[in-house]
Symmetry: C2
């Protein structure tokens, strides 16, 4: 069932997600789904299933879309290589997927990218082209280099192959959770992850209520849902660095607008609280962006969820050590875990 | 095969470990075994299998032995209740096992126990009796209360039921790893965990080389192995708070001395490095004690392990937030993960 009508066909379909699942099998990890009695209690008695892409190769879901997209390159495209612009998880996803497929990769990175992310991207064998964020536009630089070298530019989210690849995470979650989910939540930045997951849920479990979650300051999707079309906001400040996009994608917006029940927001403080709880109770490290949907669940603002089966997409686990030191230092969390896996 | 001869029968057998596995099934979590290409590379090409008791209920393996022991209480013992002395993971294991079995529990705790551990123990419904470590002996206080109330004292490691219960972790690891392991490592404090695991490995995979690992300052087992009998050391200072015991147990020493290949040591710095690597690369939180065997593996001092199948018992994930803040703040670790689970 469509929640809202949109004009024209969507950029990707459930069949594309299933085809992506076949392409990535054996290369992309089938990440574990964790459950925790302590977490269930903290979420008002919901039965929570965490799909932990923090355990994915490169530490985030981005490897799924990158591998799905690059594995469909033509022989000419493979020779010309791939290029993208990213300071974060997409850079690592593209770099590792390119290495696995023997495709030359160039990543345009800002000079202020943090050292461990640069090191990881280099470690996967990608070439780096530096830009100064103050004076250059990374996307324009990448597009120019692509033209000069005959490389193919792969954007971080607004691409049918990327969208279908990210959706495989939700497809796996549905299989791993067994019985259908009542509710599904994912973080919402550019919308690549949620649009793919929405297609997967729509095809697998059409009655599941779907939520996208962003932080209060990064509320471009809330405004866009209200307007019925993509609305641009100024560059937002938020601890959830993975969802700092300014406007929904041209391809991701129609999918999410038509299939996702609603978009909600949480505060940065709620995000850090959720990250801490997961760290000290479930013993796993997740990045702030991954804690965004969990923060909404913990807030109680979704109403009574007692006994409901709730799937949560944990998007990644790449955390700046300085932020982690701050999060750990502030906490009063109990060290007792009560978690399992399936 | 016995490595060294000891006089008299051992306190527990492989059959006891198997019986324990039947008793704890469905209550104690079958924790996941994690693998990581990044970790394998850091360990000289070994194929490392991490048995993650950090995901166990209460956040540590201690729940296994506690539940196995308490589930064998007679009706009279159940009525009289259980008592123990612990400031750490054993307290939580006993408290939760007692709650699950409907047995009243009293935990003698030192007044300087850290707040989250006290909160967790209380949260499982146990009564707390406080002692001042400077002026009172916790074991004597617990024994006195046991006599006064007709309660049963359950020690943290030198007990056949505790030993057999802890051994179930290694039994599961052997099943989950598939092919036999070439090497197995576990942290070594009182010896409850390693003695049970040694019985399990001896019965399941008798050719596996077994190592116990302690920190340089907490080297009572190294000295005891050299002497051929338990040797007492002064209270050690080490970051690995779970292995601060001063002397091997009367029951655990003969088992470990006869079945374990060797005991080795690592430095506190090596322990913190291993903890950091696991946190930022594998995205899991493990406590310093759990990082002790991994630190040895990472040191390269076990020689060439390329292609060898190495099982590592990750004992728990209960970390003092202040220590974690320090560990995170010092690190230069890369955020890229490359891990999976089975």
């Amino acid at each position: 069932m469509e929640v809202r009508a949109v004009a024209g066909p969507l950029a990707a379909t459930f069949a594309d997600v299933r085809a992506a699942a076949g392409r990535i099998a054996g290369v992309v990890h089938r990440t574990p789904v964790l459950t925790s009695q302590a977490l269930d209690a903290a979420c008002g008695g919901a039965r929570v299933f965490l799909k932990c892409e923090s355990f994915q190769r490169t530490g985030a879901f981005k490897f799924r879309g990158a591998y799905n997209r690059l594995s469909q390159f033509t022989p000419e495209e493979r020779t010309g290589g791939v290029i993208t612009y990213s300071s974060g998880n997409h850079a690592q996803g593209i770099a590792l997927a390119a290495r696995e497929l023997g495709i030359p990769a160039t990543i345009v990175m800002p000079t202020d990218a943090i050292a461990p992310k640069v090191a990881a991207t280099k470690g996967y064998g990608a070439g780096i082209e530096w830009i100064d964020r103050q004076t250059e536009n990374g996307y324009e630089t990448a597009a120019r280099i692509a033209r000069e070298r005959g490389s193919t530019f792969v954007p971080p989210f607004d691409d049918a192959g990327i969208i279908a690849g990210q959706g495989t995470a939700a497809l796996e979650l549905c299989e791993q959770a067994g019985e259908p989910l009542d509710v599904f939540l994912a973080p919402l930045g550019g919308g690549g992850l949620l649009s793919g997951c929405a297609l997967a849920m729509h095809g697998t479990s059409p009655r599941t209520v779907l939520y996208g979650v962003e932080t209060e300051t990064a509320n471009d999707w809330v405004l866009s849902f209200a307007a019925g079309h993509p609305v641009r906001i100024p560059p937002p400040m938020t601890v959830a660095d993975g969802i700092k996009t300014e406007v929904p994608g041209d391809l991701t917006f129609p999918i999410i607008y038509s299939l996702v029940t609603d978009v909600r927001t949480v505060s940065d403080d709620e995000v850090l609280h959720a990250m801490r709880l997961v760290l000290f109770r479930l013993k796993i490290l997740i990045e702030p962006t991954a804690a965004v949907p969990l923060a909404l669940l913990l807030s109680g603002r979704l109403g009574d969820l007692a006994g409901q089966r709730v799937g949560v997409l944990i998007s990644g686990g790449n955390v700046d050590p300085a932020l982690l030191a701050e999060v750990a230092g502030q906490t009063e969390a109990s060290p007792a875990a009560d978690s399992g896996s399936r």
